[in-house]
C-alpha cells in the first residue's frame, strides 16, 4: 500500500526530475510546492539519499538533486525504499508478513487474490521510470490512453 511517505517521496522526486539536470532544489521549496510537511520531507529525502536516488549539498547553496537521470530510476524501486515490500495488504508480503488476527491465510480467498495484485503492482511500478511519471502530469489525456494500452492492465483484468 502506498503510504503518505511513499506518495510524498514520489512527489518530491518528480519535483527534482522537472529541474534542469544537476540543479539543486531547497527542501523548503519542494515542501511548499507540493504541500508536504517540511520535517517529514527532510526524513524522506534522507532515506532517498541513503538509497542512492538523490544527492544533497549542505549550506546556503545547498539542496537536493537526483543522483541519476530520471529515466534510470524506477518508481517501484523508490516505493520499496520508502514503504517497504510492495503489498496491497500486510498479509500479502513475504518479508514483512503480518498475519491477520481474524482469518486463516491458507484458505483466505482475499489474500490469494491480493497476492496476484502484488505481482501486478510490481510489474507496473517496476516498468515505469521517474521520467515517465513526471511526464504524466504534462498531458493527462495521452497518459490515460497510454495506461490503457499497457499489456499489464489486460493481464490484471484477465
Amino acid at each position: 500500500m502506498l503510504t503518505k511517505k511513499g506518495k510524498y517521496g514520489l512527489k518530491a522526486l518528480v519535483h527534482l526530475a522537472q529541474l534542469p539536470a544537476g540543479q539543486l532544489a531547497f527542501v523548503g521549496d519542494i515542501a511548499s510546492g507540493n504541500n508536504i510537511p517540511k520535517k517529514f520531507l527532510d526524513a524522506i529525502l534522507g532515506e532517498l539519499r541513503n538509497a542512492g536516488f538523490v544527492q544533497s549539498r549542505k549550506g546556503k547553496e545547498g539542496g537536493y538533486r537526483l543522483a541519476r537521470p530520471a529515466d534510470e530510476i524506477k518508481v517501484g524501486h523508490v516505493v520499496r525504499v520508502l514503504d517497504g515490500p510492495l503489498a496491497p495488504i500486510p498479509c500479502a508480503s513475504r518479508t514483512q508478513y503480518q498475519r491477520c488476527e481474524d482469518c486463516n491465510e491458507a484458505t483466505c480467498q482475499v489474500r490469494h487474490l491480493m497476492l496476484e495484485v502484488r505481482q501486478a503492482i510490481a510489474e507496473v511500478l517496476d516498468q515505469r521510470t521517474l521520467a515517465e511519471m513526471r511526464d504524466i502530469v504534462l498531458d493527462d489525456l495521452t497518459v490515460a490512453r497510454g495506461i490503457d494500452g499497457l499489456p499489464l492492465t489486460q493481464k490484471v483484468l484477465a
Binding site: R68, R80, V81, P85, S93
Partner: protein, 450 residues
C-alpha cells in the same frame, strides 16, 4: 515457429555451455534445424571445469542443480541412478556432489544420445576444430576454422567460456595441470594466488601428487570458501527486494534479512540461496556505480558465501589449515624475484608488514574471470579487434544485450552473433554455473526457435 528464417546455428565452443545449448536447441521438432557444435578439445562437454580426472575434484553444486535441462531438474539424478552411482536410499534432495569427471561423462553421453537420435536427420553436426573467427555475411555468418575451412549458418552463438591462460600481470604464475606445471620437489613451499575454489582445486591436486610442502595462499582478504549444508532456501518475492538502490543500502537490507532469519533459527545459507532467483535482476537494476563497487569491495565476501564447497572438501581444507599445510594470507604480493625458485614479498593487509618467502612455484588461482580485452581466445580476440564486439563496462566479459546479442564497438546490437555462459557476465552477472547457464540456454533456444 520462426525456424523458417534462422534454422542454422553454429555454436562455437563445446564445453558444458555449448552442449547444454545444443541440447536445448534440438528440443525443437523442426526438421530443417541445423545445429553445428565446434570444439577444439578432443572431448565435448568438458571445457575447463570438467576435464579433471581427479575424483576429489567434485562438483560444488548438488546433483539436482546440475541437470542439463532447465525444465527437467531430475535429469542428472536419474542418469546417476541408472548407472548405480547413487544409492537407492538417496533422494534427489539428498545433497550429493559427484566427481566432476562423472559430470563430464554425463554430458558426453547426453551428446552421444543426441548424435544417435539425429543421425538420419542431419540436424546435429559436431566439428572438432579450433574456430578462429566469426564474420557477419549478407545472409548470416561465416565461421573460419584452424584447418583452413569455414562453416556458414544464419547465426552463431559464442560459448567459448573461460580463458585458458592466466591473466596479464600474473607474471611467473602458471595454471595447475598445464604443460608448465612440471614435477616439483615434494617438500617445496608453493605460493597460490587466490584463496577461493580454484585454490582448493590446486590443494587437492597437490595432495594427490603427494606434495608435502607448505601451500601459502594469498588473496586481498584471505577468505576461504564456506561449506554447503543441507538446507531449504527461504522464499522471497520481487515485491520484497530493494532493486535499483546504491550498494550500501542493498547490503544493509540483506544483512538485516540474514539477521532476522537467523533469529528465527534459519541458516544464512538459506537466505543467500533464497536470493538466487533474483540475482540477475538485482544486478541488472543496479546503477553502474553500485555494480563497480560490488565488484571491487563486496564480491569477495559474496563469493565465499554464495559459491560453497562440498562438506567433505571443506573438512579437508579446514584440517589442512589447522595443521599448517595451507596458510591463507590476507595481503598482496608486492615483489617477485626469480632465481632458483622465487623470492616473494607479501604485504599483510592488516599489519602492512612485509614477509619474504622462498617458493618453488607460483600457481595462478585468482579465479576464472579476467579482462576480456586481453583474452587469449582467438575468436573473441578477433571479434573485439575488428570492433564487432566490445568488453562490457566492467570488463567482466563481452557486452551483450538482455537477449544475449553481442554489442559492437559502436554500440550496435548484432542479430547474428550471440553469446552464452561466462562471457555474458557483464549483463547477467551470475551466469558461471550450470543452474544459471541452463536457464539462459532454454530462454535463448525459445528466443531463436520459438
Amino acid at each position: 515457429m520462426s525456424v523458417g528464417r534462422t534454422n542454422s546455428i553454429i555454436v562455437v565452443g563445446g564445453g558444458a555451455s555449448g552442449v547444454v545449448l545444443a541440447a536445448h536447441l534440438l528440443k525443437s521438432p523442426h526438421p530443417d534445424l541445423r545445429v553445428t557444435l565446434i570444439e577444439k578439445r578432443p572431448h565435448f562437454g568438458q571445457g575447463i571445469a570438467y576435464s579433471t580426472l581427479l575424483s576429489a575434484h567434485v562438483l560444488n553444486v548438488s546433483a539436482a542443480g546440475m541437470s542439463a535441462y532447465a525444465d527437467d531438474p531430475g535429469n542428472f539424478w536419474r542418469w546417476l541412478q541408472a548407472r548405480g552411482l547413487v544409492s537407492q536410499e538417496q533422494t534427489p534432495q539428498t545433497p550429493f556432489y559427484a566427481p566432476r569427471s562423472v559430470y563430464a561423462r554425463y554430458l558426453k553421453e547426453l551428446l552421444d544420445e543426441l548424435e544417435v537420435r539425429e543421425k538420419g536427420t542431419g540436424r546435429l553436426r559436431l566439428i572438432r576444430e579450433e574456430s578462429l573467427s566469426i564474420s557477419p555475411t549478407s545472409s548470416g555468418v561465416e565461421v573460419t576454422l584452424a584447418n583452413g575451412t569455414s562453416v556458414v549458418a544464419h547465426l552463431a552463438v559464442l560459448a567459448t567460456g573461460h580463458d585458458e591462460q592466466p591473466g596479464a600481470g600474473q607474471g611467473h604464475a602458471i595454471r595447475m595441470g598445464t604443460e608448465a606445471d612440471t614435477a616439483l620437489d615434494p617438500e617445496a613451499r608453493v605460493l597460490v594466488l587466490g584463496t577461493g575454489l580454484s585454490m582448493v582445486d590446486a590443494f587437492l591436486s597437490l595432495e594427490q601428487r603427494g606434495h608435502k610442502g607448505e601451500i601459502v595462499a594469498v588473496s586481498r582478504r584471505g577468505l576461504l570458501p564456506s561449506p554447503h549444508r543441507k538446507g531449504n532456501p527461504i522464499k522471497l518475492d520481487v515485491a520484497d527486494i530493494p532493486f535499483g538502490t546504491q550498494l550500501s543500502y542493498f547490503v544493509g537490507w540483506f544483512r538485516d534479512l540474514i539477521r532476522e532469519n537467523q533469529k528465527a533459527g534459519i541458516d544464512w545459507r538459506d537466505v543467500v540461496d533464497g536470493l538466487r532467483p533474483f540475482n540477475q535482476k538485482i544486478w541488472q537494476n543496479w546503477p553502474s556505480s553500485a555494480k563497480r563497487r560490488f565488484v571491487e569491495h563486496t564480491k569477495a565476501w559474496w563469493d565465499i558465501h554464495r559459491h560453497r564447497l562440498a562438506p567433505e572438501v571443506h573438512a579437508r581444507v579446514t584440517e589442512a589449515v589447522r595443521t599448517g599445510r595451507i596458510r591463507p594470507v590476507a595481503g598482496r604480493v608486492v615483489g617477485i624475484e626469480a632465481g632458483d625458485g622465487f623470492s616473494i614479498d607479501i604485504q599483510s593487509r592488516h599489519t602492512q608488514a612485509l614477509e619474504t618467502l622462498q617458493v618453488a612455484r607460483i600457481y595462478d588461482c585468482t579465479g576464472i574471470a579476467r579482462d576480456i580485452s586481453t583474452t587469449s581466445n582467438s575468436v573473441v580476440r578477433s571479434l573485439v579487434d575488428r570492433g564487432l564486439a566490445r568488453p562490457d563496462p566492467l570488463r567482466l566479459g563481452l557486452d551483450v544485450s538482455a537477449k544475449c546479442e553481442i554489442i559492437a564497438g559502436d554500440g550496435s546490437v548484432s542479430a547474428k552473433i550471440l553469446a552464452v555462459g561466462p562471457l555474458t557476465r557483464g549483463t547477467f552477472f551470475e551466469i558461471d554455473a550450470i543452474p544459471d547457464i541452463r536457464v539462459q540456454c532454454a530462454r535463448l533456444s525459445k528466443q531463436l526457435l520459438g
